[in-house]
């Protein structure tokens, strides 16, 4: 797995989700949507449906409706998985160097591809083709070690595709984004395809996300759906992370 990606994409999402002094509030990522996630791997195809929210600050809340009622709260320091029917919660504390838990495919769709790279990464190529911007980066970590390459294609609306390859040129992750809609100042893809490859380059898992009813999330008015609010009697179990 591309270890650096998890931390980078979470940091990039936190950046687009943060409301910093001097920036417009509308620039921060804050949205709610219904989702359908189809996952295909060696075990077959599974479909998960529910609703999710990106909250300013970088937190993500997910309310899964099928196949099992579940709420997930993903934040930089903690992952909470709550089962409302059983009032049972798994709580995982995330301590560095562990990457914060993140829904990579969704985060990659709303973040600028270049912002997900380590600072030392080098631009190898940038060209225009059919009105799209094609970019190739050499990914270099903090110690100066080359980790691989990232290729992205971007239109005016946002990223069309992002591919991460290892040093040998074998694909590790491939994302495609389509059917974008503007939410506040952000462009959000409603159709997201993600392919995950094993270290040897074989395709291991495929995700297809479809978002509907994408609206700007209003923290003042809306209840925090899916944010795993634990009650005083909730049974809490620690989940090793």
């Amino acid at each position: 797995m591309v270890g650096w990606w998890g931390a980078s994409i979470a940091a990039a999402l936190a950046t687009v989700s943060s409301v910093t002094p001097g920036t417009r509030v509308g620039a921060a990522l804050a949205l709610s949507a219904d989702f359908v996630l189809k996952t295909t791997d060696a075990q077959g195809t599974e479909t998960v449906t529910g609703a999710l929210s990106f909250i300013p600050g970088g937190d993500v809340c997910v309310a899964v409706k099928t196949p099992n009622l579940q709420e997930m709260h993903l934040s930089v320091r903690e992952l909470v998985i709550y089962y409302p029917e059983r009032d049972l919660a798994f709580v995982a504390n995330v301590v560095p160097p562990h990457a914060p838990p993140m829904l990579d495919a969704l985060a990659a769709g709303v973040a600028d591809p270049a912002s997900t790279l380590p600072a030392q990464s080098k631009l190898l190529e940038r060209k225009r083709a059919n009105g799209n911007l094609l970019t190739r980066w050499r990914v270099i970590d903090g110690t100066g070690q080359a980790l691989g390459e990232m290729r992205s294609a971007e239109s005016r609306e946002g990223a069309l595709s992002v591919e991460l390859d290892d040093k040998a040129g074998k694909p590790q992750r491939r994302f495609s984004f389509g059917d974008r809609v503007r939410v506040g100042a952000r462009s959000v893809p409603r159709a997201i395809g993600a392919e995950y490859f094993s270290a040897g380059g074989a395709r291991q898992r495929q995700e297809q996300w479809t978002l509907a009813n994408v609206t700007r999330f209003d923290q003042r008015g809306a209840a925090l759906i899916g944010c795993a609010h634990l009650g005083p009697h909730t049974k809490v179990q620690e989940l090793q992370w």
Binding site: L37, Q43, Q70, E85, F90, P101, A199, K235
Partner: protein
């Protein structure tokens, strides 16, 4: 004199390599010995408090959750990376066994509590095992290469010294 110092250095290097081999062997054996113990453990869900009438936790195929955790960890862990970490020696192996890999949260979405617990445990156990195994290979190969380089180095010194002695005689 120099031959004596060289021989002592060689002995010291051999003894260091032997210690590394013993530690590596122990680190291989410990997880192997743990497996039968883990296999006998069962994950029991916590008491469900006051469940709704007629409600029962959905049955979970523990074998499937465990197998999927193992399979995903095998596919996710970059063995080459951990091989090179192992080249750092015992420190690299220790890092490999202490650094716990975590499954992507998307894989836990919509899964039952029992599945999440079993899958996560299996993923982490297998992930650490794979990391450690590759780090040990890296350590052994690295140590082997260093030993080989030292052997060649001392053979060259020994041969040069022998030639000089023969020339002097």
């Amino acid at each position: 004199m120099s031959r004596s110092i060289g021989f002592r250095g060689f002995r010291k290097r051999i003894s260091t390599s032997a210690i590394v081999a013993i530690v590596s062997g122990a680190l291989i054996l410990v997880p192997l010995l743990q497996r039968p113990v883990l296999a006998q453990q069962s994950w029991a869900p916590p008491p469900a408090g006051q469940p709704a009438p007629g409600y029962a936790p959905p049955p979970v195929d523990a074998g499937r959750a465990s197998a999927e955790g193992v399979q995903d960890a095998d596919a996710d862990i970059n063995g080459t990376l951990w091989f090179f970490v192992g080249c750092l020696g015992v420190i690299g192996i220790a890092i490999a066994y202490f650094a716990e890999p975590s499954p992507p949260p998307a894989r836990l979405m919509g899964k039952s509590a029992e599945y999440v617990a079993i899958y996560t445990g299996a993923y982490k156990t297998e992930g650490k095992s794979v990391q450690g195994r590759h780090a040990i290979y890296g350590c052994l190969v690295g140590t082997g290469l260093i030993v080989a380089v030292y052997v060649v180095f001392f053979l060259v010194i020994f041969k040069t010294a022998n030639d000089n002695m023969t020339a002097l005689q």
